[in-house]
């Protein structure tokens, strides 16, 4: 019913060297909007996709149709269309659209399946990369983290955009010049080492897998929100949408779907931001004018800090923290007493034939009581920490590295820790961007090296549209909550408070701590993952905008999950199966293999996501540190240091990955719980959080790589030729010969 009468399919076949030069051509019957001038004259620039090309026209039409579709639903809502109908329409219309593009772009051709035939023009490759890149973490998590962390959350904004400088300067042009299929391909060919290839493949697999789990978790969240089905059904529903696309058409389908998804997700983010901007600043572009909101927000923060009721709430939390500390100091006696008291309370109620509700809550308290004194110590320590945080005064939104400690020495220490954590996180996210296979893969899909460079520019441009808006959105939502919700009586809270706190207390939790019947800011706990999804309701927009935002979030999640699953399946089918197990596999067999593996990986990832291992942003952050530590050094040194050899690469990847995994495994709360480790036994190094473990692991990876290379024999002649070729392909034919095995 909407758009895309012609599936966007650029043609103008290009023959790649190596086995990529394929025979099957599934696209001959389709229009060919973008023709590339092959070779060209001396200094000829590549053919630019002009804006009048059918490809651009199709997507422009698509944008208009999509806006009309939203408008139509909006009018429908005005005349009484039920909300559930709108929710389902958004869900099925968008997933159906992606599936439609996927089906139209289905392919069994190897070059098409792995790298979309290498003929995606820079502008569209930029859009697709942006969609690939902007995941649940950017769309859902980012503004929420900024809401909670203020200035300190900007580390995500800096890290996730600045990384593209590294991609553009250090990696993308060289990968494109190499022009094969996967990242392990590049490492294997550069270092002429099967070990290096295997380790790179394992690293690519693990980073992408952690990342995809976070995305599938996001899928579950959004479908639950849109259709109010159970979280686990939501996950599998979203999964079906992901598979429809990747399964049939590989990179080709994923690329053209991602372009559509990018348009949807940008619209879904920018429209409500403009709306809120109009409401609060009188300008539809609050990105330029929210400075005044920051100012008003600051004044409101000061006011709330002085409020006597807020002080009362903070005092209660300070007392609770002290009580928890007293229980820890009294271990193990306090554990025994606590357990006995909980059991006695339950049994007393049972004897008194107390009401069922009371009995149940007493039973739950008994069941949830720590099973051992060690567990008790861990849980109570966490309580001390969380109550202590809630007892602090309000964090000024725009102030960097803020500390709420009264003691000036402790405060200075906390500020310094926060500053170093900020810098470390920025570094890890940047280096991770330049090491994450699913983003780097996209450098392979452009027709030329120039287009690869321009494509990075376009992807950063589209990413900035969202990233410049997220801090504005966070400030606007925060101001709305601080002025319109805080200070209201509990009985008159807006409906979204009840809706969101009933889905899961980790999204939103309000308790009347001081029992005055009025909501204080200190009584409210907001989870980062709900801010964007609930934003239309918070600002009182019509339900159709809620649906739009959810559809945008879904687009962000699906596009990233598509790219990631494809990377994983490619690593398994191309690097493991074809390169290492069966070198004589036919192209058709390899593609089939990729599809089967895709299905398996998706199911395993969905299963892990059901365990809810952490918030979206923290899971994604772990993937970045792992990618930065394992792949970044060997990709960069592979181009910029001729002396780097296979053993160096192996040592670098193993050391970087090993340290990163060790630090995360022993310090990240989810794993600490899984392995029964006490945080006290595993102190942080220099106070650096596990999400930024790459700050230790990347330098170690570089060091190990340099040491390993210098301690072993120099790389063979072919490696040197390879380096020359990717730096400047003077004799392309000769260099290419040297690389084909």
């Amino acid at each position: 019913m909407r758009a895309l009468n012609n599936p966007p399919s650029p043609a103008g076949r290009e023959r790649g060297w190596g086995e990529g030069a394929s025979t099957a051509d599934s696209s001959t019957n389709l229009p060919s909007p973008v023709k590339r001038e092959r070779g060209g004259g001396e200094g000829a620039s590549p053919a630019e996709p002009s804006t009048s090309s059918p490809l651009a026209r199709n997507y422009a039409l698509f944008t208009v149709f999509f806006l009309l579709f939203v408008l139509l639903l909006g009018i429908g809502e005005h005349y009484g269309l039920p909300h559930t109908f709108i929710g389902y329409t958004f869900l099925f219309a968008t997933i159906g659209l992606y599936a439609g593009i996927g089906i139209r772009s289905r392919t069994t051709d190897v070059a098409e399946y792995y790298v979309a035939g290498r003929r995606v023009p820079a502008f569209f490759n930029g859009l697709a990369t942006a969609a690939d890149w902007m995941s649940a973490a950017s769309f859902i998590g980012l503004a929420g983290s900024l809401y909670l962390l203020g200035f300190d959350g900007l580390a995500f904004v800096l890290g996730w955009t600045g990384g593209f400088c590294l991609v553009a300067l250090l990696i993308a042009p060289y990968l494109r010049r190499f022009g094969q299929f996967t990242i392990p391909d590049f490492i294997g060919a550069r270092y002429r080492s099967e070990w290096a290839r295997a380790i790179a493949m394992a690293a690519a697999l693990i980073c992408s897998f952690v990342y995809v789990v976070a995305q599938i978790y996001g899928v579950g969240l959004i479908t639950t929100h849109l259709t109010s089905v159970d979280f686990s059904y939501g996950i599998f529903l979203g999964l079906a949408g992901i598979l429809m696309c990747t399964f049939l058409g590989g990179m080709r389908a994923v690329t053209w779907t991602q372009v559509a998804q990018c348009i949807i997700l940008l619209l879904a983010y920018l429209i409500p931001v403009a709306w809120m901007g109009l409401q609060q600043t009188g300008s539809p572009i609050p990105q330029f004018s929210y400075g005044s909101v920051l100012d008003r927000l600051e004044r409101r923060e000061v006011q709330l800090n002085e409020d006597p009721r807020e002080r009362e709430v903070r005092a209660i939390f300070r007392q609770r923290a002290q009580e928890a500390q007293a229980r820890i100091d009294g271990l193990p006696g306090s554990w025994r007493e606590g357990q006995a008291a909980a059991r006695k309370a339950f049994e007393d109620l049972k004897e008194q034939h107390a009401p069922m509700a009371l009995l149940r809550s007493a039973e739950r308290a008994l069941q949830q009581f720590p099973a051992t004194p060690d567990d008790a110590r861990r849980i109570w320590q966490r309580q001390v920490h969380s109550y202590g945080e809630r007892a602090e005064t309000l964090h000024p939104h725009a102030e960097p590295y803020w500390s709420g400690k009264d003691d000036s020495q402790l405060a200075a220490q906390e500020r310094s820790t926060k500053r170093w954590n900020f810098l470390a996180l920025v570094f890890c996210l940047m280096a991770g961007t330049a090491g994450l296979p699913h983003v780097l893969m996209r450098s392979y899909t452009t027709p030329t090296v120039n287009q690869a460079r321009r494509s990075v520019f376009w992807s950063l441009f589209f990413i900035l549209l969202l990233y410049l808006s997220a801090p504005a959105l966070a400030a606007l939502v925060k101001y709305a909550v601080y002025t319109q919700v805080v200070g209201q009586p509990f009985s008159e809270l807006p409906a979204w408070v009840a809706t969101w706190s009933s889905i899961d207390p980790s999204f939103l939790r309000v308790d009347d701590v001081n029992g005055d019947g009025i909501l204080q800011l200190g009584e409210m706990q907001v989870g980062p993952d709900m801010v964007v999804l609930a934003m239309p309701e918070i600002a009182g927009m019509p339900y159709v905008i809620t649906g739009l935002v959810a559809a945008g979030g879904l687009a962000a999640v699906l596009s990233t999950a598509d790219g990631l699953l494809l990377t994983i399946a490619n690593a398994l089918s191309h690097d493991l199966y074809f390169r290492m197990i069966n070198r004589h596999a036919t192209p058709a067999r390899r593609v089939t293999m990729a599809k089967v593996l895709l299905l398996l990986v998706a199911l395993v990832a969905a299963f892990v996501a059901l365990l809810r291992p952490g918030s979206i942003v923290s899971m994604v952050g772990l993937a970045f540190s792992l990618a930065a530590a394992s792949l970044f050094p060997s990709l960069v040194l592979g181009v910029f240091w001729r002396r780097a050899n296979g053993w160096g690469a192996v040592a670098g990847m193993l050391a970087g990955f090993g340290l990163c995994a060790y630090y995360i495994g022993t310090r990240y709360p989810f794993f600490q719980m899984a392995f029964h480790l006490s945080p006290a036994d595993w102190p942080l190094w220099f106070g650096i959080e596990p999400i930024s473990s790459g700050v230790f692991a990347v330098p170690l990876g570089f060091a190990a790589m340099i040491a390993g290379s210098l301690l072993t024999a120099p790389p063979p002649e072919e490696c040197s030729k390879f380096v020359d070729f990717v730096r400047m392909p003077e004799e392309p034919a000769a260099a290419a010969d040297a690389m084909t095995d």
């Binding site: 070779g39 300067l169 990105q287 400075g291 920051l294 520019f457 410049l468 910029f640 400047m728």
Partner: protein
């Protein structure tokens, strides 16, 4: 325009790479200052600029626009350099 036409192929290759590396290093320095030096001194740089706290503005918008500029400069300069050295733009032949 073939500025480097006179030199031998090997020298040309070296020249191309030296120039590329120099541009890369300069832009990386710019990137480093924007990303790490300004943020390190974020607490010290909190003066007001057009109604914005400077360090907040830089981290939320200024640095991002600098990144876009860096990528743009690199792409433009390298395209020109490729043309000057007569490199046929195809990584795939």
């Amino acid at each position: 325009m073939r500025t480097a036409g006179a030199a031998g192929p090997l020298q040309q290759r070296r020249q191309y790479w030296v120039q590329t590396r120099r541009l890369t290093a300069a832009l990386l320095l710019f990137w480093f200052v924007v990303s790490f030096v300004l943020t390190f001194f974020a607490r010290e740089l909190r003066f007001a600029l057009f109604g914005w706290p400077f360090s907040y503005y830089m981290a939320a918008q200024g640095a991002l626009l600098c990144y876009l500029l860096i990528v743009w400069i690199y792409s433009r300069q390298q395209e020109r350099r490729d043309a000057a050295f007569g490199i046929r733009d195809a990584g795939n032949e």
